[in-house]
C-alpha cells in the first residue's frame, strides 16, 4: 500500500512537472512551477488531461457572476478573457478593451482592479472535501459509540479513540486545567482539521490548503477569539499589572504584553503555514532538479530524497496539528487560569501558560 502510494506520487508528480515544463514552451522555471503548485488555482489539475474546472463566483460592478473556470481557457489551453473578466497570475480582474487587467492609480501606484472573488478555488474545493471527510469519519465513529455502547471499540473507532483521548488527556487537561472540558471540542476539531488537511495536501494532486496563509489566519483567529472570550480577570491583570513588576517598568511591559496577545496567534498562523509550505517546496524542488539538470540520472536520487521527504512530511503533518492544538490549549489555559497564590511573581511555576516558553518548530 505504501509502495503503491509512493509510486502514485512519483507518477503524478512527474506528469504534472512534465506538463508544467511543456506549458512554458520548453524552458523550465522551477520558481514559477513551485509557486503555481503551492498556490491557489481556479482549476484542479490532478494530472495532465485530468483537470477539474471549478466554479468561479464573482461579485462586483456587474453584479453576481457564477461560471466555470474552464471559460478562461480556449481549446489551445491559452488564457482568454471571459464576460469582461480576465485571469492573470491566479487572480481575476476586470478586463479592459485589449483583454488585459484594468488598472487604477491607488496612492500613486498602478494597481489591478477586480471584483470580490468568492470562487470555489482548488483550496476551497479541498477544504470542502476535508470537511466532508471529517464529518463522515467522525459521524461514523460517533454512531459506533451509540451502537456498541459500553463495549470495546473496533475498526476506525479504535484507530481514532486513542488520538481523541490523547487530545483530551495529554493536550487539553494538563494545559487548560479544571475547565478543560468545554475546550475539548474545539481542540479536537482543529487537531483533526489540520491533520486531515495536511495529509490531503500530501496526496498526489492535493491542494496546499494548510500551507495557505488565509486558512492558518482563520484558524489562529479562532484561537485568539476563544482565548479573549474566555479570559478572566487574572489574564488581564497579568497584562496590565504584572505581579511583582515595578510601576516604571510597566510602561514597557504593558505594550509588550498587549502585543503578545497578537503575536501568539500570529506565530500559530506563520508556523503552520511555513511548515507545510516548506515541505511542499522541498519536495517540488527535489523533483525540479531532474528538469534543471535535464538528466535521467538525477531521477533516482531526486525520487529517493522526495520519498524520504514525503515520509518526513507525513510526520510533520501530525506534528504541526499537535503543536497548533497544544499551543492553542496553552493560550486557553493562560486565559482561564485562576490566581495560584504562589509567590513566584507570576512566573516560574512551570504550568503558567502565558510564560511557558515553547520551542517553535
Amino acid at each position: 500500500m505504501k509502495k503503491l502510494f509512493a509510486l502514485l506520487l512519483v507518477v503524478f508528480s512527474f506528469t504534472t512537472f512534465a506538463s508544467a515544463a511543456e506549458e512554458k514552451g520548453g524552458t523550465f522555471k522551477p520558481g514559477d512551477m513551485i509557486t503555481h503548485h503551492i498556490g491557489d488555482d481556479y482549476t484542479w489539475h490532478f494530472a495532465d488531461g485530468l483537470v477539474l474546472n471549478l466554479p468561479v463566483i464573482l461579485y462586483g460592478e456587474n453584479g453576481l457572476d457564477v461560471f466555470s473556470a474552464g471559460n478562461f481557457y480556449n481549446e489551445n489551453h491559452e488564457v482568454v478573457p471571459y464576460k469582461g473578466y480576465v485571469m492573470d497570475h491566479g487572480h481575476i480582474y476586470y478586463a479592459d478593451a485589449q483583454g488585459n487587467p484594468r488598472t487604477e492609480m491607488v496612492e500613486g501606484k498602478e494597481k489591478h482592479v477586480g471584483p470580490l472573488d468568492l470562487s470555489i478555488t482548488k483550496n476551497v474545493a479541498s477544504l470542502f472535501l476535508s470537511a466532508i471527510l471529517l464529518i463522515g469519519v467522525f459521524f461514523t465513529i460517533a454512531g459506533r459509540y451509540k451502537k456498541t455502547e459500553g463495549r470495546a471499540p473496533y475498526g476506525i473507532q479504535s484507530f481514532f479513540e486513542p488520538i481523541i483521548l490523547f487530545v483530551r488527556d495529554e493536550i487539553a487537561r494538563p494545559n487548560i486545567g479544571p475547565k478543560y472540558e468545554r475546550y475539548v471540542p474545539y481542540l479536537l476539531t482543529i487537531f483533526f482539521f489540520i491533520w486531515f488537511n495536511n495529509l490531503l495536501g500530501l496526496m498526489p494532486g492535493g491542494a496546499n490548503l494548510t500551507g495557505n496563509i488565509a486558512v492558518t489566519l482563520i484558524l489562529a483567529l479562532f484561537t485568539l477569539i476563544i482565548t479573549l472570550a474566555s479570559s478572566n480577570k487574572n489574564y488581564w491583570a497579568h497584562i496590565f499589572k504584572t505581579p511583582g513588576v515595578p510601576i516604571p517598568l510597566l510602561l514597557i511591559m504593558v505594550p509588550i504584553e498587549l502585543v503578545g496577545i497578537l503575536t501568539k496567534p500570529f506565530s500559530l498562523m506563520v508556523r503552520l503555514f511555513a511548515n507545510i509550505t516548506a515541505g511542499h517546496i522541498i519536495i517540488l524542488s527535489l523533483f525540479s532538479l531532474i528538469f534543471i539538470f535535464e538528466s535521467i540520472a538525477v531521477g533516482p536520487i531526486s525520487v529517493a530524497f522526495a520519498i524520504f521527504m514525503n515520509f518526513l512530511e507525513l510526520f510533520v503533518a501530525l506534528l504541526q496539528a499537535y503543536v497548533f492544538t497544544l499551543l492553542s490549549s496553552m493560550y486557553f489555559g493562560g486565559a482561564v487560569e485562576e490566581h495560584d497564590h504562589v509567590d513566584d511573581m507570576g512566573h516560574g511555576d512551570g504550568s503558567h501558560g502565558l510564560n511557558t516558553p515553547v520551542a517553535a518548530h
Binding site: L118, L134, F138, V184, A214, I218
Partner: protein
Amino acid sequence: MELVTPGIGLIFWQTITFLLVLFLLSKFAWKPIMTALRERESSIENALSMAEKAKLEMQALKAGNEKLLAEARAERDRILKEASEASNQMIEAAKAKAGEESNRMIAQAREAVTNEKRAAIAEIKNLAGNLSVEIAEQLLKRELKDATAQQQLVSDYMKEVTLN
C-alpha cells in the same frame, strides 16, 4: 508576497466551513463520543472498585471461614479432650469400683471361710465330745461290770476330790 497575502475568497470559505465543521462535529460527534468515553471510563472505574470490594469481601469471608474452622477445630479438640477425660474417669471409677467389689467379695469369702471353719471346728468338737462320751460310756460299761470295780472307782474319785 503573493504567498503571504491571504485571499478574501479563501478567508470567507474557510470561516464558513470551519464554523460549520466545528458546530457539526461538536454537536454530533464530539459530544456523543466524549459522553460515551466518560461513561465507559466510569463503568470501568466502577467495575474495578467493585472487583476490589469483592476481593476484600472474599478476604473477609475467607478470614471468617478460617475463624470458624479454627473455632470448630478448637471445639473438636475440647470435645475430644473432655471425652477422653470422661472415659478415663469412667475407667478409673470402674476400676475403683471393681477393686472395691473384689475386696468386698474377698472379705466376704474370707468371712464365710472363717465361719465355715468355725462351724466345722465346732462340729468337730461336738463330734469329738460325743465320741469321747460314747467311748467313755463304752469303757465305763465294760469296766464297771462288777461291783468291785465300781467301788474302786468311786473311791478313787473320792480320793481325788478334795473338799476345799
